[in-house]
Amino acid sequence: MLLELQNVHVHYNKIAALQGVSIQVEEGDFITLIGSNGAGKSTTLRAISGLEKPSSGEISFRDQAIHHLTPDRILKLGIAQVPEGRRIFKDLTVEENLQLGAFTRSDKVAVRRDLDAVFGHFPRLLERRNQLGRTLSGGEQQMLSIGRALMSDPTLLLLDEPSLGLAPIVVEEIAKILCDINGKGVAIVLVEQNADLALELARHGYVLETGSIALQGDADSLARNEHVKTAYLGI
């Protein structure tokens, strides 16, 4: 098992955000967490990356407990996150942003190769490599955020609402790239409000409702589930 969350609880002050979430991700897997606003999707990803400390429960990566580690240590183990709202460094250039994604790596040749690979995925970033992050469009900023996460050469990529606020054509482009990345063996956990898209891309899905898992299963069977259809797919 690549990543396993066992009965994870997270509290903000005294308010429970996660109330016993259990998730399993295999090597090379593609899973999605869907659910409405405030269901705990982002909190789950934040807990995996070490930005929130679980009040109880366990998170393990390749059978090693990681829930007590700081975010930089977790990144080094191979878990990268594309955070909600992109969070690129707006006063740094595109290339500086990407280089910071590889901050912990010392093998310059491999970093160079991955930089070229990111520019291969996102040719528009290559055109704008010396521009400041703040001059990019929303879609380009999302690409930069994904590219930055890829620069750490992750085994597991967490994405928080990558489609939010983007034009459908850009969403399609990003979806295609996520499939490519997954095809190269990187496991993906995708958090989305756009459940149509998420269930189309992922192999397994979890439905989060008020801080716990309401449903889980194959993406296809979830997409046919009556409850999911009415609540999340708008059919």
């Binding site: 990356s49 070490g50 930005l51 700081t70 975010p71 930089d72 990144l75 080094k76 990268a80 996150q81 955070p83 969070r87 690129i88 460094f89 707006k90 006063d91 740094l92 500086e96 280089q99 910071l100 994604g101 901050f103 912990t104 930055r148 996460a149 750490s152």
Partner: protein, 289 residues
């Protein structure tokens, strides 16, 4: 005319010092989110180190300058590790801790140097450069401005050309996103306050031979540093350097033609006006985005 030309030269030298004071404050505020009220006292400790080691114990000026940098750097690291880090999520707590350090260092200076008149250090670089019998620049001041410019250039190079420098800027821009890139926030904070402390120690060591040394000399430093960081735009290093030179001109000319007190009052007035009219300063950006 002579006074005018002389004031221009003096403004640049003064501006170098202002910038050296301010960038350390900006760096710590940007990366750690702490307003370090003891920053002026760190400069004071640098000056006292020169007085003690160079004037009292006869150590060479340059080795003593190195010791001043090292000592203040270590004080900075101590402050981050034991006073600011436990208050990471509480900027007010960090600020209050820094005010505590301010008083402790002032008292320490009194214990080391005793009371009595302000101390002075004989300039190790004697002589004066005289240009056309009009402008006079003591070699000590030329040395100071050269070192100021070298130190600021080095800092600029570090922040814009090295990956470690980018990581400091990344933490200042978005601490959480920086942590997600594998940047260790504690380590970055240590680097920021280490650089800030080294610059403060250097500034104090450079000031020692050309100004009075007394326990409260940091007062003027922190007021000036606040004025130029606010006018320049809080968190903007280029803004702080630019504002330092501007303010140095204003301060030097008003001091030359009126008085030093009016000069500082004008500076504070400008700071208040900037806060009312354009709170983001000359080069600052809106924080909310």
């Amino acid at each position: 005319m002579e006074l005018f030309l002389q004031s221009i030269i003096n403004s640049f030298i003064q501006g170098g010092f202002f910038a050296l004071w301010a960038v350390g404050l900006v760096l710590v505020f940007g990366v750690m989110g702490v307003v370090n009220f003891a920053h002026g006292e760190l400069v004071m400790v640098g000056a006292y180190t020169i007085w003690l080691l160079h004037s009292q114990y006869g150590m060479g000026y340059i080795p003593a300058l190195g010791m001043a940098i090292l000592l203040v750097l270590l004080i900075g690291l101590f402050m981050e590790r034991f006073l600011f880090r436990p208050k990471r999520e509480d900027p007010l707590g960090g600020l209050i801790n820094s005010i505590g350090v301010l008083f402790i260092l002032q008292v320490a200076a009194l214990i080391v140097g005793g009371t009595g008149p302000a101390k002075q250090v004989a300039p190790p670089f004697s002589g004066t450069l005289i240009i056309e019998e009009i402008v006079r620049v003591p070699y000590q001041r030329l040395f100071s401005i050269a070192v100021c410019i070298a130190a600021l250039s080095l800092l600029w190079f570090f922040l814009t050309k090295t990956k470690l420098g980018w990581s400091l800027r990344a933490v200042a821009l978005d601490r959480e996103a920086a942590a997600l890139q594998g940047i260790n926030i504690n380590r970055t904070s240590m680097i920021a306050i280490g650089v800030s402390g080294a610059l403060a120690g250097l500034a104090g060591a450079l000031m020692a031979p050309i100004s009075n040394i007394y326990p409260h000399m940091g007062h003027n430093v922190i007021i000036t540093a606040f004025i130029v960081t606010i006018v320049g735009g809080i968190g903007s290093l280029p803004g702080a350097v630019f504002a330092s030179v501007l303010y140095a001109f204003l301060h030097t000319f008003i001091t030359a033609y009126f008085s030093g007190t009016i000069a500082t009052m004008s500076g504070l007035l400008i700071m208040v006006l900037v806060l009312i009219v354009k709170p983001t300063g000359i080069m600052g950006r809106r924080i909310s985005e």
